[in-house]
Structure formats: structure tokens, C-alpha cells
């Protein structure tokens, strides 16, 4: 069984989700729940902190795709930060940098919400 958890915190009215472990088909539901909660709480500005994210599968990538439109509709966005190199490669190969703003650090992503609120 994969180990995965999503931590919730807020930084300047941005919802920061700390991902830990492996995000695959079995654990995707946790991330889905987290996105749903942000949408329900009307905090559509989301930064996903991937510092402790060890692995992501296509199912995990799919979760981002499934919720980004709703989040953007609410006037927010999903930004991704601090990905480990191996994990970043996976995102990169799929072309995610063209759809999502991927930054080095969480702070950078949070700041970007203030300056450029919506996706490129």
C-alpha cells in the first residue's frame, strides 16, 4: 500500500497543500479530497508543495487535470512548487509546465498569486 498524505496550511490566504509520499491510483483520492475541500471552502488559490513528493503516476497527474478548471473558474489557480528533480521530469515530459506554473519554492508561488493571479 502506498504511503501518502496531504497537509493543509494557509499562507497569506493561499491554500498550501503539502504532499508527502507517493501519489498514484490508490492514493489519488486523498488529493482529490483536498482539492474538493479548497473549492468548497472558496479558497481557490492553491499551491501544491511537492518537496516531499517521492513519486507521481499518471493517475496522480490526472487529479490536477480534473480540478484545475474548476479552480480557475472560481478565480484561483493551482501552482506547483518545490518538485524533486525526478518528479519534475515526469511533469515536464507530459508538458505540464505549459499548463501550470511550476516554481522552485512555495514562497515564490504564493507571491505569484499576488502579482499574477491567474495561469499563463
Amino acid at each position: 500500500m502506498s504511503n501518502f498524505s496531504v497537509g493543509f496550511r494557509t499562507q497569506q490566504d493561499v491554500c498550501v497543500l503539502d504532499l508527502t509520499g507517493e501519489l498514484d491510483a490508490h492514493t489519488a483520492a486523498e488529493l482529490e479530497a483536498a482539492f474538493q475541500k479548497c473549492i468548497a471552502d472558496n479558497t481557490p488559490r492553491i499551491v501544491v508543495d511537492g518537496e516531499r513528493l517521492q513519486y507521481i503516476s499518471s493517475a496522480g497527474l490526472g487529479v490536477f487535470m480534473a480540478y484545475v478548471e474548476d479552480v480557475r473558474e472560481q478565480g484561483g489557480d493551482i501552482r506547483i512548487a518545490a518538485l524533486q528533480p525526478k518528479v519534475f521530469t515526469v511533469f515536464d515530459l507530459l508538458g505540464f509546465p505549459m499548463l501550470f506554473d511550476i516554481t522552485e519554492t512555495v514562497d515564490e508561488a504564493v507571491t505569484r498569486f499576488a502579482t499574477a493571479p491567474s495561469a499563463p
Binding site: A66, L94, L99
Partner: protein, 749 residues
């Protein structure tokens, strides 16, 4: 007593036999009627003579009365014979019948006696001092009252028999038989020895005493009372008092204003029998009353444990029937309330799938779910229970900060019992009472018992669900795999100068790998390798769609870019949210000696040139289905590569690079490149095999987590080249089918 048993059995059988057939019954009735007429006639003689009967006439009278009583009694007993359950309802019937008949008797007396029959002397009832009837009225009343009282006595005895013999043991049956026999013996004896209206002598008194003693023995058989619900017990107390009063009055003859007297003058023996019967009725009523009185204070406890047994029984039944965790949850939440242990109850479970240990209230009884969540802080309570593993009891729930005041629901005491199965705490069953300090040790123990049963039941229900799900998935997988096999190319195309080797090895959890070839006009060959995200039948179906798109559009797409753009437009709307397809599309031009390719989110193709370093072909591109707003088109790169003889192009899916060794290490892109470098000189099939061998060696005994696909295209140069001899035969090699060099597929642990 042993002596009595066979005797009483035979007697009973004989008596029953007497009323067995309708003809016998008719005969009995006729005999009784005749005897009755005879008694009236004989009493008529006494009336005329002014002296009570004696000698032969007396014997005749006695015999006739015996026949009347016997016939009447037996016929009535048979008529009432249906096996009634000892229910207070029946006692009411007895009471009403007795009152009714006695009332009728009173009316008769009033009608048939002259005025002034209010005092209790023999004269007042129309009898001379010597016992002979003096007026016509008493002549009529004697048989009438006798029959009436006999009716009531037999009725009461037959009905009470069911109560006395509720616990039908041999001893009980014997005692009852003995009592009835004693009544009859006493009656006969008195009849033989006494004068109507006279006092009894010692012998008679002794016999009557023995019969009374036997009546007492039978009067204390009251076990039927215990199983009644509380309300009925309370009602029965009143009933027994009434019955007692009625029987006492009846035995005394008071209500009928000398009815006993009438019967006593008619036949002293019969009067004794009737009195004994009424006496027994009174004794039984008294005993029942006293029993109830002493039993009531403890009956609530008995009630509760009976209730608990019921609830436990219901739960056990349910575990067999309910494989639905939701329904089971409701049944568990309602059990404490229906069993009488609590006023309200609710069940909070931890959801294992989400991995978080936050309990949610899934069912509630006696209050709604919402209120249950608000009234108690389930998380905090659960945390404490989870930590200790023991039930938690709040005797003064109001005072606890984890209990909140909610309108309409008072929680005075709270008991939380953990549901533990296989060492895991599945959740907590909360039981609440309105009053503080309402739970006792007993309640904790019985709820603990519930909870362990409930936990097992829940665990089984979940396991069952899991099993059903697994079965469903297994058959889904089989379908998906069959579909996948059909979609992959069955033969490899024959392109001069190009050697091909391709294989796709499915994992146990079927993914969505796909590869295909389409020879285009002017000798070109289109190649596609694709990977649908996700697994199972939906992935297989998307694969099928992609195949359709490929077969339709490949011929009409001049470039990889053109195809992929069209493919994205066609596919994107059809994919579910979050689903995407990665693809690598290449067009090999043997005439122009180039290859054009575009990478839509897929693993980069590897180029193994005849000379020079092995490298990945870089190129940007979004996966298919991720975007419909033009970003896909704008960002997709197309790469043109020249092809020199000996160059090899390797296309694959991420199942290869993401395979993990026993040490949980990924094969990775670097290793792949390294393997390609080492085997670069091999021809297409050999290179294909060598790569898979290398991968297999790396994996060890680990199974595949994902499908893996490997397509090797080796360019041997234009057909005019000498080195192409081998190429033609190589390219017509049958493709390695799915079970390739790596069969059999290692089973998942």
C-alpha cells in the same frame, strides 16, 4: 406418588376416550340429561314428602348427580380443550365468565324466590330445617345453580390447567391429576356420608383437607408470569386481585345469595367439588398476586437482560444477512436502544480508505446524524478511547467539555465502546441516556459484548465487499486484456530496408499501451506508440478509440504534427476529466532517408546512430487530451532526423523506465541509454531481446507494475545497398507476440 402415575395416565386416557367420538358425546349428553331429569324428579319427591331423600332414593339421587356432573364436566372440558397460551387474556375470560354466570344465578334467585330471601338462613332459601326443599322455587333453583356453578368450576379448572402446566414436567402433570382425583374422591365421599345442609364430619373434613393441600401444591406453579412484558405484569396484578375476590365470594356463595346452599342441598358432594375448584382458583390468584408483587422490582433487570438477549440475537441474525456495511451500521446503532440499554445511540467509524483517522458518524438511532455530530465531540472522545483501547464512560456528561448542549437531546450519561477487529479500532459505538449516572457495570459489559460482535460483523461485511470488488475487477481485467490483444498489430509491415521488432508485455493491472504501424503512400511508414493514463477497461476502450483515429487519419496526415493535432481534437472531448494519452508519432521515409517525429507528452524516442553517442530525441509536446484551447497546437514540436544506414530508432512506454527492482530502484532513462549503447551493434530483433533481458535482469523477481512496450526500428539503408539482404528476411519475421522473451509473466505477490 409413583403409584399414581400409571393410574392417572390410564384414567386420563379413559376419560378422553369417553368424549372422543361424536356418537359417544351424544350418548354422554343424553345420559346427563336423563340423569338431570331424574334428580329433579327425586327432589320433587322430597319436596312432596317434606323429608330429604334417604336410602335407595338417596343413592339414586347421588348416582344421578354424579352422572350429570361427570357428563357435563367431560363434555365441557372437551369443548374447551384448545391449547391456549397462558396469557392474562385468558384470566380475564375466566373472570368474566365467572362473574357472568354468578350474575345470572343472582337473577334467577331473585326471580324464583319469594320476597324476603335476603337473610342467610335455610328457611330464607326455601329449605326446611331438615334439608328438604319447601318451595317450588328452590326445586328449580337447585339443578340450575348446580349446573351453573359446575360450569364455572370446570371452566376455571380447564383454563387454569394451562397456566399450571406451563412448564409441562412429569411431576407437574402428576400433581394436577392428583389434585383433580382428590377433588372427585372428596366429592364422592361427602356425597356418601353427608346429609344435605348438614355440617361435615371429621372424615370428610380430612379428605377435603387433603384435597385442599394438593390444591396448594398446584397453586404455586406460576412460571408463565416471568416471560410477560412489564406492562402486562402490572395489569395482571389488578386482575389477580379481582379474580381472588370473585373466587372467594363464589366459594362462599355470597354473590349468589345462597347459591352454595342450593347446590349443597342438591348434592353435598357436588358442592364440595365446586368449592374446592373455586378454592383452588382463589389460591392460584393469591399466589400469582404475591409472586408478581415480589417479582416486579427485579423484573426490570430481567426485562433488560431479556431485551439484550433479543438485541444480541437480532445482531447475530443480521451478521448472516447483511453484507452491506451501511445497513449494518444502522443495525449496530439501533441495537443498544432497542435492547433497552440506552436512550440514544450512534456509531462513528474510521474510514480506512482515506487513511485519515478522523471518525465520521455513519448511523444514529434516537437522534439524527447531524445532532449526533453536534452533541458530542466524536473526534476527541474517539482519540481517548483509541488511546486506551477501553470503553469510556461519562457519568456526568453535562460537565464534560466534549459534550455540547443541543436542543431536544439531553445527554446525561455517555458510554463509548470501541469496535475492535483484528487489533484495529474500526470505530466507536456511543450510547447515551438522558439522566446522569445511568450506566452501570452491567451496561458496559453488555455493550462491550455488542461492540465485539458488531466489529466482527463490520469487518466481515467489508471483507465481503472487497472480495466482490476484486472479483469484479478480475473479470474487468480479463476483458481489458482481451481487447488490448486484439488492438495490437498482428503482423509487422514489410518496408524495404527497415527491420522492425515490436512487442508489448501487459502487466497484471492492464494499462493502456498501444502501438501500431501504417504504411503510407510512397513507401513511407507511420509508427505510433501511445500510452493511455489509467488502467482497466476504460484504458482499453480509449486505446480502441485511438486505434480508430490512427487507422482513419494516418493515411491523410502528411506530417506527425498534422496527425497529432487532429488526434487531439478528436480525442480530447471523448476523454474523461483527468484522463490523457501520451503518444509518439513518427514517419519513416526510406526514400528520403529521414524520419520525422513528434512527441505528445510521451517518453522521448531514443536514437542509436551507427556512429556517435546514443541520445534521446528532445522535443516539446503536451499530452493528448490535456488541452483544447490551442496550447497543444502551439507548443508541439516536430523533429526531422536524417537516417543513416545502421541507425536505430527505439520507441517505448514508461513501463520500461519506471520498472522497479527489488531494491525499489527505478530502471530509469540512464540505464536504458546505457543498455542501448552496449547493444547498439545488434540487429533489430537481437537488440529488442537484449534490452528486455537487461530489464528483466534488473527487475529480478519483481513483477511489472505497468504495461511495457518496445518498438525497435533499424534502418539498413536503401534497397540498393548490399547489406540489405538480411533486412528483407528480418522485416518479415513474425513480430514477437505479447508473451515475448519475458514469458511467463511473473505473478503479483
Amino acid at each position: 406418588m409413583p403409584l399414581l402415575s400409571p393410574v392417572s395416565q390410564r384414567t386420563e386416557r379413559a376419560l378422553v376416550a369417553l368424549t372422543d367420538r361424536p356418537r359417544r358425546r351424544a350418548a354422554l349428553a343424553a345420559a346427563g340429561a336423563l340423569a338431570l331429569v331424574a334428580t329433579v324428579a327425586l327432589q320433587g319427591v322430597a319436596w312432596v314428602d317434606g323429608v330429604p331423600l334417604s336410602g335407595l332414593l338417596r343413592v339414586a339421587q347421588a348416582a344421578s348427580v354424579a352422572v350429570v356432573s361427570g357428563a357435563g364436566g367431560l363434555l365441557l372440558a372437551r369443548a374447551l380443550r384448545r391449547q391456549a397460551e397462558p396469557h392474562p387474556r385468558v384470566l380475564w375470560q375466566v373472570l368474566l365468565v365467572t362473574l357472568g354466570v354468578l350474575a345470572v344465578g343472582r337473577a334467577l334467585v331473585w326471580a324464583l324466590l319469594p320476597a324476603g330471601a335476603d337473610d342467610d338462613t335455610a328457611a330464607a332459601y326455601g329449605f326446611a330445617k331438615n334439608g328438604a326443599p319447601r318451595i317450588a322455587g328452590s326445586l328449580a333453583l337447585m339443578p340450575l345453580m348446580a349446573l351453573a356453578d359446575l360450569f364455572v368450576a370446570v371452566y376455571a379448572l380447564v383454563r387454569l390447567r394451562e397456566f399450571v402446566l406451563f412448564k409441562r414436567t412429569r411431576g407437574a402433570v402428576r400433581n394436577w391429576g392428583a389434585m383433580l382425583a382428590a377433588f372427585v374422591v372428596a366429592a364422592l365421599l361427602v356425597e356418601a356420608r353427608e346429609e344435605p345442609g348438614a355440617e361435615f364430619d371429621l372424615a370428610s373434613q380430612i379428605v377435603v383437607g387433603v384435597a385442599s393441600a394438593l390444591a396448594v401444591v398446584n397453586a404455586v406453579r406460576i412460571s408463565w408470569i416471568v416471560y410477560l412484558p412489564l406492562r402486562q405484569k402490572l395489569a395482571t396484578i389488578g386482575l389477580t386481585l379481582l379474580l381472588m375476590a370473585v373466587f372467594v365470594v363464589a366459594a362462599d356463595g355470597g354473590l349468589t345469595a345462597g347459591g352454595t346452599s342450593f347446590v349443597a342441598h342438591y348434592s353435598p358432594g357436588l358442592a364440595v367439588f365446586i368449592d374446592l375448584a373455586f378454592g383452588f382458583g382463589a389460591l392460584y390468584s393469591v399466589a400469582t398476586f404475591l409472586f408478581l408483587l415480589f417479582h416486579l422490582p427485579t423484573s426490570t433487570d430481567f426485562q433488560r437482560s431479556a431485551g439484550e438477549r433479543r438485541a444480541l440475537g437480532a445482531l447475530t441474525d443480521l451478521t448472516g444477512a447483511a453484507f452491506d456495511p451501511a445497513r449494518l451500521g444502522e443495525a449496530i446503532a439501533s441495537a443498544p436502544v432497542t435492547g433497552g440499554s440506552a436512550d440514544r445511540a450512534w456509531l462513528a467509524l474510521v474510514d480506512p480508505l482515506s487513511g485519515s483517522l478522523r471518525p465520521t458518524v455513519v448511523a444514529a438511532h434516537g437522534l439524527d446524524l447531524d445532532t449526533a455530530c453536534r452533541a458530542a465531540d466524536c473526534e476527541a472522545l474517539f482519540a481517548e478511547i483509541d488511546a486506551t483501547g477501553q470503553p469510556l464512560r461519562l457519568d456526568d456528561a453535562f460537565a464534560d467539555h466534549r459534550i455540547h448542549a443541543v436542543p431536544d437531546v439531553r445527554i446525561g450519561s455517555l458510554l463509548g465502546v470501541p469496535l475492535v477487529a483484528r487489533g484495529r479500532v474500526l470505530g466507536v459505538l456511543f450510547a447515551a441516556r438522558d439522566v446522569a449516572h445511568a450506566f452501570e457495570r452491567d451496561d458496559e459489559d453488555s455493550l462491550r459484548l455488542f461492540a465485539s460482535q458488531a466489529a466482527l460483523a463490520l469487518e466481515h461485511a467489508r471483507m465481503f465487499e472487497d472480495q466482490v470488488e476484486k472479483e469484479r475487477l478480475r473479470s474487468e481485467l480479463d476483458i481489458a486484456r482481451a481487447v488490448q490483444q486484439r488492438l495490437l498489430p498482428q503482423t509487422l509491415p514489410d518496408v524495404r530496408g527497415l527491420a522492425l521488432c515490436a512487442a508489448s508485455v501487459p502487466a497484471l493491472e492492464v494499462g493502456g499501451d498501444y502501438y501500431d504501424f501504417a504504411p503510407l503512400d510512397d513507401d513511407r511508414l507511420a509508427v505510433i506508440v501511445a500510452d493511455v493514463s489509467g488502467k482497466g477497461t476504460s484504458a482499453a476502450f480509449y486505446m480502441a478509440e485511438l486505434k480508430g483515429i490512427f487507422r482513419a487519419l494516418a493515411h491523410r496526415s502528411p506530417t506527425p504534427l498534422a496527425f497529432l493535432r487532429e488526434a487531439n481534437r478528436a480525442l480530447a472531448p471523448a476523454l474523461a476529466p483527468g484522463v490523457f494519452v501520451t503518444a509518439l508519432y513518427a514517419i519513416v521515409d526510406p526514400v528520403g532517408e529521414t524520419v520525422q517525429l513528434a512527441r505528445a507528452g510521451h517518453c522521448p524516442a531514443a536514437l542509436v546512430p551507427a556512429e556517435g553517442p546514443v541520445r534521446y530525441v528532445e522535443g516539446k509536446g503536451l499530452g493528448l487530451g490535456l488541452d483544447r484551447r490551442g496550447i497543444f497546437e502551439r507548443t508541439l514540436n516536430e523533429i526531422d532526423l536524417p537516417l543513416a544506414p545502421g541507425d536505430t530508432l527505439v520507441l517505448y512506454t514508461d513501463g520500461i523506465v519506471e520498472s522497479r527492482s527489488e531494491a525499489d530502484e527505478e530502471y530509469g532513462y540512464d540505464r536504458l541509454l546505457d543498455a542501448l549503447t552496449r547493444h547498439r551493434a545488434l540487429d533489430a530483433p537481437a537488440l529488442h531481446a537484449a534490452l528486455l533481458d537487461d530489464l528483466h535482469g534488473f527487475l529480478g523477481t519483481n513483477p511489472y507494475g505497468d504495461d511495457l512496450t518496445l518498438v525497435v526500428l533499424k534502418w539498413h539503408g536503401a534497397p540498393a545497398d548490399a547489406s540489405s539482404d538480411g533486412a528483407a528476411s528480418e522485416s518479415s519475421l513474425p513480430p514477437h507476440r505479447t508473451r515475448g522473451p519475458l514469458s511467463p509473466i511473473p505473478a503479483l505477490a
